[in-house]
Amino acid sequence: MFRRRLTIALSVLLLLLPWPVAAMPYDYIDISNPFLRKTPIAVPVFKSATHDPAAMAAASVTSARLAYYLNFTGYFTLSDPGAFLEDPQNMNITGSGLRYRNWTAIGAEMLVTGSVVIRDDDTEFELRLFDTIKEKMLVGKRYRSTADNYRQVARRFCSEVIFAISGSRGFFDSKIAFVSNGTGHKEIFLCEFDGSNVRRFTRHKSISLFPDWSSDGRWIAYTTYADRGPKIRIQHVRENRVAKIDKPGLQAVPAWVPGKFELAASLSFSGDQEIYLLTGNGKVIKRLTSSAGIDVEPTWSPDGRRLAFVSKRSGSPQVYIYDTVSGRVQRLTFEGRYNTQPSWSPKGDRIAYSAMNNGVIDIFTINPEGGEPFQLTENQGTNEAPTWAPDGSLVAFSSTREGKSRIYVMTAYGTDQRRLFTLSGEQSNPKWSPNIFNP
């Protein structure tokens, strides 16, 4: 089921050349909107010995996958291989012998080169990222892998590339949980960050909603009617372990505290809905909100100090922020009369949410300290349930733009909107996991 069981078998990463580890100025992307101008990058097929078909196949599959992942980030445009002036199988791939001008001539400002050698059961990849304008190598890595782990090699190197240009590690070890009703019941499903490898997580034949990943990616908490719900279940992703919350009434929309085995959720056992802090085993630690009426949809700041949530205390649903240290609650959204589904970026600088105006729901982001909302979706059906990639660069969401509700992804600035996959039934409530290194 999980194809990455041998992840650990992946070889030690090896720095190939002396490398300036000093603070890297991330001047490759525009901080104000890194997706406005994409960086043209060339990813020629990796070099391999022509007499080794297995190495040739590994080279071709892995370079294509690398190009696909780089394109997925939204930072790059891929140079057309048909325009290449160099023959990938006969060019020099190390810094000393590279003819940078043959790449800048076709517009490629960055270049990935690679070689593949197979020895016994080990496949060795040497991968490099070059800045063709400054004529220097930015990343050089050697990976040793078994044949079933080429995907992981591509992900590792992509993570290095994204780190070199943006200072964050990307999202290549993340997954997405979502709700699908294709079986006739709303069940929780999981897939990779790019929508591949879709598989079913729950089999309740009931209504299951609002999945949320623990920081280590090992647990998913969700709301289900399997126990005459709506009740929360805290379920291990791979082992047969489940915890429940022993409280009557509504239990809804769990949100794991970053870095802790604790979560927040709305419970109504007191007769009124309030958001509580719970242990990962479902025991109440303490109440967090205290206001009559609806308090729901908690989402944590990355430092776990603050909690954004939805409340109707002012008459209409709006996003509020609760500071767990000062105990103060402040209203965040003021425009419109229906702002729900807050999702705090793992980078901490934005909160995405959905706003309904004239019956149409669209996704916005706002600075947690307040300010003008920034609209990400417009004029394409209803767009709901934003959730951030672990590096805060992408947002997944559900949209009815093609009729049925499906899962889409876009950059944090609303560009590059695309459908993640096609599945029977309708999909909703996506939730992006953190990067999961030891599943």
Partner: protein
Amino acid sequence: MMMKRKWIILTMLFVIPAMSLTVSCAKKPVATVPSAAEIAAEEAAAEEAVRQAELEKQREIESQKQLEAERLAAERAEQLKAEAIERDMMMAMNRFLNENVSFEFDNFTLDYQAQELLKQKAVWLRDNPDANVVIEGHCDERGTNAYNLSLGERRAESAKMFLVNLGISDTRLTTISYGEEKPVDMGRDEESWAKNRRAAFVLE
């Protein structure tokens, strides 16, 4: 007829020897021998008795029949009455189960109409003290589903608290929110949405 013939034969048996005796010795008494008239009277009396018995039997049967009819009529009346009561109870229960409390969009307050309906429901709950009830809170499809789950819970709780304030024990009333997950009308207009924004009553 048989009887009649019997009597005639018997009469002949007495009359013929008697006539021969009178001829021989006229002084002999004649009282022991019934005259023909007497015999005819006796015959008629017997016939009358039989007829009377028949009539009596008929009257008895008639009376039995009438009693039976009366009993059946009474029974039917009782049954009809029971059926009417049953029907009324069923109608009351169906009304209780089928008439939903309505709400405005993004709202869980009870308007006049909702309160009047809940008063009727309280009457039914008092008439049916053994009934325990689940109050379901529902929303229309508009808005987002987590918020609607919370809103549905508030709707069910509003209805429950109103009934509790009318004296219905809260141990008989549980609430569950289905948010926007179980619409009764799949339409996408105000008429359908209005039907879906409801607190519904289900027997536990």
